[in-house]
C-alpha cells in the first residue's frame, strides 16, 4: 500500500467529485465546502482506507457520508433561522441559468437521494454493491431506490405520458 494518496490520482478524480458534490447539494458554495472537506478527510484518513475498495468509491463514500451528516445536523438549525429570514434567499444561482437542458432540469428536481443513486449507477457506472457500500444501504434498498429514482425521472421527463410502473414481484 502506498504511504499516501498520490496527488495525481486525486487530481484526476477531482472533476467527478465536484460533479457529485454539485448534484448532491445543488448549491455552489455548499458543493465547494463539501469537496474541500472530503479532500481533507481523505488526505488525513488515508490509513483507514479499505484497500479493496477503489479510490473513487472510497472518495464518493466519504463525500456522501459528509453530505448526509451535515444535512442531518443543520436541518433543525436551518429551520430556526428561517424565522429570522426577512425574505427567502432565492438568489438564482449561475448554475440554474446554465441549465437549459431538459434532462438536467428534471435531474435537478429529483431528491438528493435519487440524484445520488442515478449519478452513481448510470453515470459513474458503480456496481450495485459499490453503490450499496457507498450509500451505507443494503443491496435490496439500493435496488428499490434505483427503481423509484428511475420512475421519478421518467415521470419528470415524460409527464403523465409515462406508463404505470411495474409492480415488484414478491
Amino acid at each position: 500500500m502506498q504511504a499516501t494518496i498520490s496527488d495525481e490520482e486525486l487530481r484526476e478524480l477531482l472533476p467527478r467529485l465536484r460533479r457529485f458534490a454539485q448534484w448532491l447539494t445543488r448549491e455552489p458554495s455548499s458543493a465547494d465546502d463539501l469537496v474541500q472537506n472530503c479532500l481533507e478527510r481523505a488526505l488525513s484518513r488515508w490509513q483507514s482506507r479499505d484497500p479493496q475498495a477503489s479510490l473513487r468509491a472510497w472518495l464518493f463514500t466519504i463525500m456522501y457520508r459528509q453530505f448526509v451528516d451535515s444535512r442531518r445536523r443543520s436541518n433543525r438549525i436551518q429551520r430556526f433561522f428561517e424565522r429570522f429570514q426577512e425574505e427567502p434567499e432565492l438568489a438564482p444561482s449561475a448554475e440554474d441559468a446554465v441549465i437549459a437542458n431538459a434532462s438536467l432540469e428534471a435531474f435537478g428536481q429529483l431528491s438528493p437521494d435519487h440524484r445520488a443513486i442515478l449519478l452513481m449507477v448510470t453515470v459513474e457506472g458503480f456496481s450495485y454493491q459499490e453503490t450499496a457500500d457507498t450509500l451505507g444501504l443494503p443491496l435490496g434498498t439500493v435496488m428499490s431506490r434505483l427503481s423509484r429514482a428511475r420512475s421519478a425521472y421518467r415521470a419528470l421527463t415524460e409527464g403523465e405520458a409515462s406508463p404505470a410502473p411495474l409492480r415488484r414481484i414478491k
Binding site: 438549525i77 429570522f84 449519478l119 421518467r154
Partner: protein, 257 residues
C-alpha cells in the same frame, strides 16, 4: 404467465450492464417476446444515456486552485502550525501574567470591545454558574424537553417567534435560557450542556450598530466565539476552544451570507 419472467431488479441490472452473460442472454430472449417490458427497458436506457450526456457537460467546471491536493495539504499543515503557535502564545501570556502583562492585555481588549463581546461575557458569567445558570428551563412547567415553553417565553420577549436549535447530534441538551439587557436591547442567552457538564451557549440580541453581513471568529482565554449579524440581529455561539465539538457546532449554524 411466463415462469421465466425476470424480476424488476434484473431488468435494472440489464440496463446497467450488471447481469452475467448467461442471464443477459436469457433476458434478451425474454424481452424479444415481451414488448411492454422491452419498451420500459428501452426508456430507462434512453434516460440513462441522456443523463450521461447531459452530466458529462457539468464536469467542466472552471478549475479551482483551492481544490488542488497540494494546496489542501499545505492548508492542513498551516492549520496544525497555527494551532501550535496559538498554544505557544497562550503559554507566553500565562507567563507574562505574573508581571501584569495579562492585565494590560485585558485593558486593551476592553477598549477595543470586539463584536459580540457581551455574548462572551454572558458565557463567562452564566455558563460557569453551577447554581442558577438559567432562569428558565425547558421542563419548568413539567413539559417535555422540547423547549416549547422557553421558546414561547423568549418569543414574547424578543418580539419574534423562535424555535431553538437542537444540538442533540453533538451530545448537547438544551439546558435553558435567560434574558439579559444590553445597550442594544434584550438579549437571549441559551445554554446547552452535555453529559459531562460542558456548556455551549447560543446568544442573540438586536443589533443596529454593526453592519449586517459582519461575521468572524475569535478565541480568547479558552473560549471560542463565532459571531455574525443578520436581519437586525447579532448572533454568537460560544464554547470551549479545547473542545473540537465547538467548531463543529459553530459550523452547523448558518452564518451571515
Amino acid at each position: 404467465m411466463n415462469t421465466m419472467r425476470p424480476s424488476e431488479d434484473e431488468l435494472h441490472a440489464y440496463v446497467d450492464q450488471q447481469l452475467d452473460p448467461q442471464r443477459r442472454a436469457a433476458m434478451e430472449s425474454f424481452l424479444a417476446a415481451s414488448p411492454e417490458d422491452a419498451a420500459r427497458v428501452a426508456a430507462w436506457r434512453r434516460d440513462a444515456d441522456a443523463l450521461r450526456t447531459a452530466l458529462a457537460g457539468t464536469m467542466s467546471l472552471p478549475m479551482n486552485p483551492a481544490f488542488d491536493p497540494a494546496a489542501i495539504r499545505r492548508r492542513m499543515r498551516m492549520r496544525t502550525t497555527r494551532r501550535w503557535s496559538m498554544a505557544a502564545s497562550f503559554v507566553l501570556v500565562m507567563g507574562l501574567s505574573g508581571m501584569g502583562g495579562w492585565f494590560a492585555h485585558n485593558t486593551v481588549m476592553n477598549r477595543a470591545a470586539p463584536p459580540m463581546q457581551d455574548a462572551v461575557d454572558a458565557y463567562r458569567v452564566f455558563a460557569t454558574d453551577s447554581v442558577h445558570p438559567v432562569e428558565w428551563r425547558p421542563d419548568a412547567n413539567g413539559g417535555s424537553d422540547s423547549g416549547g415553553d422557553l421558546q414561547t417565553w423568549l418569543g414574547a420577549r424578543l418580539g419574534r417567534p423562535m424555535s431553538l436549535p437542537d444540538l442533540g447530534a453533538y451530545g448537547f441538551k438544551l439546558m435553558g435560557g435567560r434574558l439579559l439587557s444590553t445597550d442594544d436591547g434584550p438579549a437571549a442567552l441559551i445554554l446547552y450542556e452535555d453529559a459531562a457538564g460542558q456548556r455551549v451557549s447560543f446568544y442573540l440580541r438586536p443589533s443596529s450598530r454593526t453592519a449586517p453581513g459582519t461575521q468572524g471568529q475569535r478565541t480568547d482565554k479558552g473560549l471560542q466565539t463565532r459571531y455574525w449579524f443578520r436581519n437586525g440581529y447579532g448572533f454568537a455561539v460560544v464554547g470551549r476552544s479545547s473542545d473540537p465539538r465547538t467548531t463543529e457546532i459553530q459550523d452547523a449554524f448558518p452564518s451571515a451570507t
